[in-house]
């Protein structure tokens, strides 16, 4: 489940993953070619991108060959993948099905996170919600 931040064109993708053994294995295999590393950490740390690391952690803020990636096991105010699932929807882009968080829940989790940097994004999301209602979308 993804949330692509576009407010500041930071190019950061945030994804919530289901914490099952099979899924973590698939995730590790899929991201390995992108050489994930801890974002903001000094180079040379003994960080290994493998299933054991992902099992031991929960939320990872990573830098990859394709950009920044926040890989979350849980979201403040939203819970884990299965709790977020009913609040998500499927879109198709580049021929790939992606599950994204609906606007109502996205506003909720950004409010729950309480980060100053999210205030502008919340304002934009609330305006989008108002306009969607006006347009009957």
């Amino acid at each position: 489940m993804i949330d692509i931040e576009q407010a500041h064109a930071r190019g950061r993708t945030r994804g919530v993953h289901r914490r099952t053994g099979d899924n973590i294995e698939r995730l590790v295999a899929a991201l390995s070619p992108l050489h994930p590393y801890l974002r903001g950490a000094p180079l040379g740390l003994p960080f290994r991108w493998d299933t054991e690391t992902v099992h031991r952690g929960l939320n990872f803020t990573l830098v990859t060959a394709l950009g920044d990636l926040d890989l979350l096991g849980e979201v403040t105010g939203g819970g884990d993948y299965d709790r977020l699932l009913p609040h998500s929807m499927v879109i198709v882009a580049h021929g790939i099905e992606m599950r994204i968080l609906g606007i109502e829940k996205l506003i909720d989790v950004k409010r729950a996170a309480g980060r100053p940097r999210d205030l502008e994004a919340i304002a934009e999301l609330e305006v989008i919600r108002e306009q969607r209602r006006k347009l009957g979308l």
Binding site: I4, Q6, A9, G11, G67, I91, V92, A93, H94, I100, L119, E120, I122, A123, E124, E126, V127, I128, Q131, R132, L135, L137
Partner: protein, 54 residues
């Protein structure tokens, strides 16, 4: 109601939001990717200018 969020709302260009809402999710994503490519190119140019202003 949050006064800080409301203050941010006053600076939002609603016409751009409406224009974006009329696009499909795929079109919005493609536009976002194009914007990100532009930002990356701009950052690269700014970096090159800093290290070699001539």
């Amino acid at each position: 109601m949050d006064p800080v969020i409301d203050a941010y709302k006053s600076g939002i260009d609603v016409t751009l939001i409406v224009e974006n809402l009329r696009r499909t999710p795929e079109e919005r994503l493609r536009n976002l990717e194009a914007l990100q490519r532009f930002v990356l190119r701009f950052r690269g140019a700014a970096f090159r200018e800093r290290i070699d202003p001539s």
